[in-house]
């Protein structure tokens, strides 16, 4: 249940970001195409960098145990604050709604 909740929250937040920023992106793409190209270049740079991540991780010589720990920590760092944030929002709404 918690996993589904987390996944749902993430999809919701990412979808929210997409829906909020999508019009801005369209505006930039239609009105400032040079800036859109620059933003796309930045994204392409990230994609290019991602291609080397596997090699870089391998070159560090870290064990799978260390990598697992890092991944688990990142997972924790990216998920738990979301849960806490949601709980805080719910509590805040509850306090607002209940006199």
């Amino acid at each position: 249940m918690i996993n589904s909740l987390l996944e749902g929250v993430f999809n919701f937040v990412v979808g929210l970001i997409n829906s909020i920023i999508e019009p801005i992106d369209l505006l930039i793409q239609n009105n400032i195409p040079e800036l859109a190209s620059a933003l796309a270049s930045f994204g392409n740079l990230i994609d290019y960098v991602i291609n080397f991540i596997g090699y870089c991780i391998d070159a560090t010589g870290l064990s799978s145990f260390a990598l697992t720990l890092i991944v688990l920590y990142l997972t924790f760092a990216l998920t738990m604050p979301v849960i806490v944030w949601v709980i805080k929002v719910v509590v805040k709404w509850w306090h607002m709604l209940v006199p």
Binding site: L6, G15, D25, L39, I57, D58, L78
Partner: protein, 344 residues
């Protein structure tokens, strides 16, 4: 202590002192010629005494020496040991004092000697000549240490111990002497030495096998841990992380792409596998291929890699614990509502 008890313990102590732990039996020796019995040979032997046959002149060649007992008390379920030292003054056909072709085998029978009924028999190979020295009348004195162990299964009253010489190599007898013809009851003497030896050996082997098994388990565990350390595959963690982030549809353009870049980076991080890098060198127009480094580390610096990974594992584990603790602590802060992704 009353008189009855004193008498009882006195008899008990005397009983222990005089109770025969080893069974000795009067025996006889028969010496067989190549065709007939030799020189009317039958010699009574008293236990623990010497029996010496001084051959008066040259006797005929002998084919067998038989040491027999017809008045023994061999109980069932007892482990016995019959031992003796046999001296023979003989001359071989080649007149050399060597043990070559001296005899081939021996037989050992247990049963009723008088009735010639044998309960058990076994072939014995007595092929060791302990000593060869100068014997009587220019003969050679051969010395054998004879030992026979057996578990007696049927109550018997006799045994015979045969000692055959090889045909065509029958020696000429000049004298015979037998010493220390002992029939020992090893069971009442505290158990069979060979049984104890076997038990100790079995126990030792069990301990060794157990240790080997434990050692092998330790080696397997170490190898498993070592292989885990050397394994760059992060599939399991990738699956775990992808459970949260794998189904998230991320935009690949514009500001959205930049904002969600950390998540994409993370996605690529958990599913990353090493592929060789190939890129062209400028000016020389040649491609350079960089192999995956972990294979090189493992091939040339496996020990250092192991130590390095142990250290980094420890440091990273400590760092992760501290960071998780800090993050949990920050959750308690009512003013802290940071959410990592949205801080970008």
């Amino acid at each position: 202590m009353n008189k009855k008890r004193i008498l009882f313990f006195t008899f008990l102590i005397f009983g222990f002192i005089f109770f025969p732990k080893n069974v000795f039996a009067a025996s006889r020796i028969r010496i067989y010629g190549s065709n007939n019995a030799l020189c009317a040979t039958q010699y009574n032997v008293t236990t623990k005494s010497y029996v010496t046959y001084n051959g008066s002149g040259t006797c005929a060649t002998i084919s067998r020496v038989s040491i027999s007992e017809d008045n023994a008390v061999l109980q069932s379920g007892i482990h016995y040991r019959l031992s003796s030292t046999l001296f023979l003054d003989i001359k071989q056909p080649n007149d050399y004092c060597t043990s070559d072709n001296l005899y081939t085998r021996g037989d050992f029978y247990i049963g009723n000697y008088t009735a010639n009924q044998w309960n058990n028999s076994s072939n014995v190979t007595w092929n060791k000549v302990d000593d060869i020295s100068q014997g009587r009348n220019g003969s050679c004195r051969y010395t054998w240490g004879l030992v026979q162990d057996w578990n007696n299964t049927v109550s018997s009253t006799g045994y015979t111990w045969d000692f055959y010489f090889q045909q065509n190599h029958f020696p000429t007898l000049y004298g015979i002497e037998i010493r220390r013809l002992d029939l020992e009851n090893l069971t009442s003497g505290g158990g069979n030495i060979s049984d104890v030896t076997n038990a100790v050996n079995n126990q030792t082997n069990a301990i060794i096998n157990n240790n080997n098994s434990n050692t092998q388990n330790i080696i397997n565990n170490n190898n498993e841990h070592f292989n885990n350390l050397l394994d760059p595959n992060t599939t399991s963690s990738g699956q775990l992380a992808n459970h949260y982030f794998g189904n998230v549809q991320l935009a690949t353009h514009g500001l959205t792409q930049i904002i969600t870049a950390p998540i994409r980076l993370f996605q690529s991080f958990v599913g990353a596998t090493c592929t060789t890098l190939t890129f062209p060198l400028p000016f020389v127009e040649q491609n350079v291929t960089l192999p995956c480094m972990s294979a090189i580390y493992q091939q040339h610096f496996s020990t250092f890699l192991y130590i390095y990974r142990l250290i980094t594992d420890g440091v990273i584990a400590y760092w992760v614990c501290v960071k998780i603790w800090q993050k949990c602590k920050s959750f308690l802060d009512p003013t802290d509502d940071k959410v990592e992704v949205f801080d970008l």
